[in-house]
Structure formats: C-alpha cells, structure tokens
C-alpha cells in the first residue's frame, strides 16, 4: 500500500496540487486561527529558519556548530538598530543577513582551518562571548535591558490584526529561506557538502576544497541565522542579551537533531520542537525544561538517529518487515536496497532518473 501511495505522490501534478493546497492553508490559517495560535506558528517559523541554517552547516556538511544562536541574536540586534534609525525595512533585512554573514565568514575562516571538531570548540565560545559583548556595547544594544523596535504592526489598509500581519511576514521570509535551502542542498553545493561530510580526504581528491566548502556552509548558516534574527524581532519586537545565551544555542542544536539532521522538512519539525516542548515542560514545572531537553535529545540519538522526520520511514520499514514479502510488489523490495546504498555512499549516489524522487533521497542522506 505504501508503495502505491508513494507512486501517486511522485506524479508531478499531485505534487503541484499538494503544494497549492499547503499554500492556501498557510495563507488562510492566520485569518481563522486565534491570536495565540498565530503567535506560536510565527515563533515556529522564526526558529525553523535558524534550525534550517544550522542544518546546512551541521546536517549536510557535518560541522558541529554550537554558536548558531549568536547569529540569530546578531540579526535581531542589527534589525532593532536599523528600525530605530528609521531605515527602509528591506535595507534592515539585508543588513541583518549581511552582518551575520560577514561575522560568520570571519569565524569560519579561522575555525575551519583546524580539522575535526575545532568548529564546535570555537563556536561554543560565540554565545558565551556574545552575552557580555551585547551588554558592553550598550549604545547599540541597550545593554542588559535590551532594545525594542516595533515595525510589524499591521498597516491600516490591510485590515489585519498585528499577529496576522506578522504571520505573513514570517511566512514570506521563511518560505523563501526554505526554497533557497532546498535548491542549495540538491545542487552542486549540496553534493560538495555531502562529500565533505562523508570524507574530507576523498572530497579533496575529487577536487572539492573541504576548507572552502566548510567556510561556505558556515557562512550560509550565519546568513540564515541573521534572517531568523530579523524574524525574531518581527515577532517579539524586543531583544536582549538573554536572546543569545548559551542554553538557547544548545536548544537550537537539539532542535535540529531531534527534527532531523540533513533534512529540510526536519528543520521545520525542529522549529516546532524548539517552541512547543519548552512551552509544555514550563507548564508542568520550569525546572524540568533542561533535563527533559537532554533526555529527549539522548533518546532520539539512541532510538531515532534520523530525527522525527524519519518516523514515517521507520514505520514503513517496520510494517514492511511484519507484513511479510508476499503482499508488497517488486518496487517495495527494491526500495530498501536503494536506501542502504545511499546511506553508505551518498557522495557517489547515482543521479536519479525521476526528478521528484530526488526529494526523498536528499532527505535520506542523514547518516547512521
């Protein structure tokens, strides 16, 4: 049955209709949902973009980055500064992405020189240095008290509430970010990322510079972080040194792993995890937030290394195992074999003949 469903999903027109339905639902949702639900969805969008950036450097390129929240904070501060200076909002957005990107480039240029885990060891410092830095540069950042900037109140002509207006801003930017990331990881650069993640020496022998690839991935991740910071300010309208604290950076990493490393859809799930689970644990007992986060992260690493996004695949595999071989067709038998070969050598993956199938394959790259 699942094979039949998969075949249907592969037809182009089905995909187009599906995409249209999703788009209509997303556009209509804020108009019918209560304000609180909208705000939650907006925050999911904000963090999904940050997780998406982290996914590019970590999930796809295999470089542990513990400082993504620093770039989110940087983007938020630049946005607040630009808005308070009365810049055009598009200029503010570009500045938020550009400043984060340049700082990310500088960090990566140094960190990527050391192989292995040096990027992790250097980036862990970013939020820890970032918090006192934000307090110190109080002319720009408002010091410990933080800084607020309102620019996302709904204009009169739209007839919308503020939360609906914010929803649309986040929706546009996040959708753009996701489409960009999707085409990035499926193209030339995506293959370079995968090659570097699998084996740097092999990548180098294929003519891919691991150093440049790592710097590129890190810079792109920082730009996404900056964009997420812009969205953060659009949604929350306030930022303080607390925004870029060490704990949040770890939460972001946990969200990426739990959503699904090396997966675009996993980034969205990661954003949802980042917003929902603390909300849930805070409602029960605020002290439980950290411990539940650690426990969930470890549990996912043990039981579901592909993250939440791999649940359908795991379920499919299990049902196939228990359903026996007779009921499923030739295609269903061929699929697991293809899956294993991709997991061991994603760098040498043959170019798939059917374009839509590539979607699933990209998402399946995540390692053991």
């Amino acid at each position: 049955m699942s094979a039949a469903a998969a075949t249907t999903a592969r037809r182009p027109w089905v995909r187009i209709v599906l995409a249209a339905v999703v788009a209509v639902v997303l556009i209509a949702a804020p108009l019918v949902l209560p304000a609180f639900a909208n705000q939650t969805l907006v925050r999911i969008g904000v963090y999904a973009v940050a997780v998406l950036g982290l996914n590019i450097v970590m999930g796809y390129t295999g470089q542990v980055n513990l400082g993504q929240i620093f770039f989110v904070g940087l983007g938020a501060y630049v946005t607040a500064y630009g808005v308070n200076q009365g810049w055009n909002i598009l200029l503010v957005f570009v500045a938020a992405c550009a400043v984060a990107g340049v700082v990310g480039l500088l960090v990566a240029l140094a960190a990527a020189r050391l192989g292995g885990l040096a990027i992790a060891m250097v980036t862990i410092a970013l939020p820890i240095v970032g918090v006192p830095l934000a307090k110190r540069l109080s002319d720009f950042t408002g010091g410990s008290q933080g800084i607020s900037a309102r620019f996302t109140d709904a204009p009169e002509w739209s007839g919308l509430d503020n939360d609906q207006w914010q929803f649309y801003i986040v929706l546009v930017v996040a959708a753009g970010a996701f489409l960009l990331a999707r085409s990035l990881v499926r193209g030339k650069y995506g293959r370079a990322f995968a090659a570097v993640r699998e084996n740097e020496a092999v990548a180098a022998s294929m003519g891919i510079s691991p150093y440049r690839t790592k710097v590129l991935a890190f810079t792109i991740a920082s730009i996404f972080g900056g964009a997420s910071g812009f969205l953060y300010l659009a949604a929350v309208q306030y930022t303080s040194p607390e925004t870029l604290s060490f704990g949040h950076s770890i939460s972001l990493l946990a969200a990426m792993v739990i959503g699904g490393a090396g997966s675009i859809a996993g980034s969205l799930l990661g954003g949802a995890y980042y917003v929902f689970v603390p909300q849930l644990t805070n409602a029960i007992d605020p002290n439980l937030t950290t411990i539940s986060q650690g426990a969930i992260l470890l549990a996912v690493l043990f039981l579901l290394p592909g993250g939440l996004v791999s649940i359908p695949r795991v379920v499919r595999r299990l049902t196939r195992r228990y359903a026996g071989r007779s009921s499923t067709g030739r295609r269903a038998m061929a699929r697991p074999a293809a899956e294993t070969s991709q997991q061991t050598t994603p760098a040498h993956r043959p170019v798939p003949d059917a374009a839509p199938e590539r979607h699933e394959q990209t998402e399946r790259q995540d390692g053991p």
Partner: protein, 293 residues
C-alpha cells in the same frame, strides 16, 4: 610591580582550574578521539554530590573523597552505557551525545538542587600570605599546588604503571591493543572514570569561589576548550601551559586594557586562537596529522 605579580599569581590560580578541565578533555580525547563537552557539567554534578554529603553532616574532606569515587564510577558508567554505542562511529554524532549529556546533567542538578547559588565550603583557610610582594590567598595557593600534585600523580600513572601503559596503548591504537589482549572496553571506562575524577577535583576546588550553580563551569569549559585548541589536543603538557597562560593573560588584560575589562576578558583566548589558527593550525604543541585516504 606588586600589582603585576599579584595578577600573575591570581591568574595562575584560576588557570589551574582550566588546567584540570583541559587535562580531563585531553584524557578523554586521547582515549576515545572525542571531545567531551559534558566535562564541565559532570564536574558540577560532582561538586553538588560533595555538597549533598556535607549537608548530611559529613566532614568536607570525606564528602569530597566520596564524591570523587562516585564521579569515577559515574564516568565509567557514562562511557559504558552512553558513549560506547557511538564510539568509532561519526564523531559529530558522538559530540552531540556529549552535548545532550551536558544538558541532561545540568538539568539533573537543576531539578535536584535548583538554580539558586549555593555556598560551598572551602577546603582551605581563607587567610592570605605575602609572596614576592603580592598578597596571595592560601586558597589559591593550595588550589594550584593540588593541581600540580595531581598532574604529577597522573604523569607517574601514565609513565610508570602497567595501567598507564595499557591506557596509552588503547589511546594510540585500539585495534592493536585489542589484538594484544588488552581489555579495550574496560580501559576506556577507566579513562572516562579518570577524566571524571579530574573534573570532580576541579569542581570542588572552584565551587567555593564561584558558588554552586548548575551552569557554574560553562565558562570554565570554554576556557578549557580554548586551552586545548591552543595547546594541541594530543599534548597534555601543551594544554597545561596554554591553560595557565590563558589564566594569567586574561587577568592582565582585564586590568591593563580597560577597553576589554572584566566582562569581556573571555574574548581574549579566542582572539588569541584566531591569530594562532592562522599561523599554526595544529596548535602550539600539537603534531601535524597527515591525512590518508
């Protein structure tokens, strides 16, 4: 001049804490090829355990000894039941596991003892002595001496005992060590146990100064990592030198360069790292690794 010596001595005292954490990180890395980001968190847990036994009315020294033994067991258990599954696999996944462990351990401390700062009794008297024109607290002096003693003991353990030889063999090449009949798994557990013990000592030494909170050693962990990068992951001596140097340097910079000051001094080791990574990517004392396909 008096201020200068004072700053250097204080810096060495703080640096000795980073030395202990950095050594623990190098120890684990040498044995397993991993960076244990939970090292600081585990050390905090050890300090809390000692605190709990003090609260029960035990003498401080006894409480610390119990905590050290428990930490050794904890380290071994963590290796056996958590890390073993990820050893030899993707190092990035293993690192994420240690970050999960850091979050979990911090969370456990928070649930059991809360986020409030708790006063931890000092092992050493709070009086101070004159030394080369500088006033040095006995506590800092004793802390530094303790760390030096531990380093010497470790060095003797590694170079003069059978266990040390076996640990080095496993670190150098687990596969050949296994062929030679060494119990690699058990030795890895011992390696993690020793690292946790080092962390525990760092924890109880620094707790009186910082007061006990779940995130107490997050900053120290960052310093220790900086020291490890600077000193080279494969050089215990290198990271001892680098950690002490960082301790001294940050103290000097905080006072003599007002632009940086006390709040931003943590940026100093990283500015240093940037410069050094550009010139010498393998670290000051590290060996250059040749990569083969």
């Amino acid at each position: 001049m008096g201020t200068f010596i004072q700053l250097v001595v204080d810096g060495l005292a703080t640096g000795s804490i980073y030395v202990a954490l950095a050594l623990a990180i190098v120890l684990v890395n040498q044995a397993t090829g991993l960076i244990n980001f939970a090292q600081g968190g585990m050390a905090v847990l050890s300090a809390y355990i000692a605190y709990a036994f003090v609260q029960l009315g035990l003498p401080l020294v006894l409480a610390i000894l119990i905590s050290i033994i428990l930490s050794f067991l904890l380290g071994a258990v963590v290796e056996r039941f958590l890390l073993r599954r990820f050893e030899g696999g993707d190092p990035d996944t293993a690192v994420v596991v240690t970050i999960g462990l850091l979050t979990l351990v911090t969370g456990i401390c928070a649930v059991l003892w809360g986020y409030n700062n708790l006063g931890f009794p000092s092992l050493f008297p709070l009086t101070s002595v004159e030394l080369l024109g500088a006033v040095v607290s006995v506590r800092s002096l004793a802390t530094a001496v303790t760390i030096v003693v531990i380093m010497v003991v470790l060095q003797l353990l590694f170079l003069r005992t059978k266990l040390g030889l076996a640990l080095r063999a496993v670190a150098d090449n687990p596969a050949s060590a296994a062929f030679s009949g060494l119990p690699v798994g058990r030795l890895l557990m011992v390696g993690w146990g020793l690292a946790a013990t080092l962390g525990a000592i760092a924890g109880v030494l620094v707790a009186p100064q910082l007061t006990l909170t779940p995130g107490m050693l997050d900053t120290a962990l960052v310093y220790a990592l900086a020291a490890v990068i600077l000193g080279g992951l494969d050089s215990p001596i290198g990271c001892v030198v680098a950690a002490s140097a960082i301790g001294v340097l940050e103290n000097l910079v905080a006072v003599y360069i007002p632009l940086i000051g006390h709040d931003l001094k943590i940026a100093v080791p990283f500015a240093l790292i940037f410069v050094i990574l550009i010139i010498r990517p393998q670290g000051l004392f590290g060996r250059k690794v040749v990569v083969r396909v």
